[in-house]
């Protein structure tokens, strides 16, 4: 069974479309409503998703952790995570599903074929993020912060996400390195709308993420 996991926090505007667009490519769409104050959960349910709701907001990392665990619980064998703001194309899910046949973790990368309209400043920030990830975790990936990923059942069970917030992207990469999962990247399209840009990581969040990672690294 293929399960799509969509972490969502106050995404009532887009989450319905995301669920409807995703359903044709998977068996189940599981939305993690991360303590939203708007109608995210209801909108997702109406669109046909299984909804797991956090009573209070716990952040992206926590939502992904809940989503991946829940997906396993409902019988997911291949788990695809994607963002709730509509920046990922559901049509690209089959790429992940196919790649999961030979790999434990599949990372979507906006940098392999340069599809889509990623703004230049984001592309530059991305490179810095990749370098930092490499220096700290020893794994060179082309898009360390992409939220479009695929996990096999084995990887999903072994994955231990500890950070609640945005550092989760790099934590997943460090887990790949530590556990020695067989991984690969598939090219994805980056769709940037004003909506997704307003929701995405800002420069200050980026700096904070880098700092936290650094502390994390020292602690471990």
């Amino acid at each position: 069974m293929i399960v799509a996991v969509v972490p969502a926090y106050n995404e009532e505007q887009e989450v319905g479309n995301v669920v409807r667009n995703t359903l044709p490519f998977v068996d189940r769409v599981l939305v993690v409503d991360d303590g939203s104050t708007d109608n995210t959960a209801q909108v997702a349910r109406d669109a046909g998703a299984v909804v797991v709701a956090h009573a209070i907001n716990r952040g992206l990392g926590a939502s992904l952790g809940t989503g991946i665990k829940s997906a396993r619980k409902i019988g997911g064998k291949k788990i695809i995570t994607l963002d709730a703001d509509g920046q990922h194309l559901a049509e690209e899910i089959p790429l992940f599903v196919r790649a999961l046949d030979g790999h434990e973790v599949v990372l979507g990368s906006r940098m392999i074929e340069m599809k889509g309209n990623m703004p230049a400043f984001r592309r530059a920030a991305q490179r810095v993020g990749n370098m930092l990830t490499y220096v700290m975790f020893g794994l060179m990936v082309s898009d360390s912060q992409s939220g479009f990923r695929g996990f096999s059942a084995a990887a999903a069970d072994a994955l231990e996400i500890k950070t609640d917030r945005m550092e989760v992207s790099s934590e997943i990469i460090s887990e790949i390195q530590k556990s020695g999962f067989k991984w690969t990247e598939v090219p994805i399209t980056a769709i940037y709308t004003e909506y997704s840009l307003s929701k995405g990581q800002s420069f200050t969040v980026g700096i904070k993420t880098a700092l936290k990672l650094f502390i994390h690294r020292i602690k471990s």
Binding site: V32, G35, R58, T66, K69, K73, G75
Partner: protein, 119 residues
């Protein structure tokens, strides 16, 4: 024996702090081990305020000119360590909270699995 204003202030505050610690430990709001540490710190502060010369002797031994400086150095060290302990504690509480929120949110997933098999 004459006390300066700052000596008096420190002694009074130390007394006040010790009573707070005692109240807290009696209501079992803080554990005995922490209470002991806090009482040692405050009694120490009171003694030093009362007899400042004692720290000068110590300071000379470790190679610092004035006793007051030695105290400041030690205090800053202790403070930073306590902050570190707090940060670690807060982080682990955050993680516990997430575990709790996650467990509650996943509670009725079992029924949903049942729905699947009937399809």
């Amino acid at each position: 024996m004459m006390f300066s204003a700052i000596q008096l202030l420190i002694i009074l505050f130390a007394l006040f702090a010790v009573t707070r610690v005692v109240i807290k430990v009696r209501s079992r709001s803080i554990p005995m081990t922490w209470a002991t540490l806090w009482i040692i710190i405050w009694v120490g502060a009171g003694v030093v305020a009362l007899l400042p010369q004692t720290t000068d002797l110590l300071a000379a031994r470790v190679g610092i000119g004035r006793g007051a400086d030695l105290l400041v150095y030690l205090s800053v060290m202790v403070l930073f360590y306590l902050i570190f302990r707090l940060v670690v504690k807060v982080e682990s509480m955050q993680q516990d909270m997430t575990k709790l929120v996650r467990a509650i949110s996943m509670k009725d997933l079992d029924n949903k699995k049942g729905e699947d098999s009937s399809e």
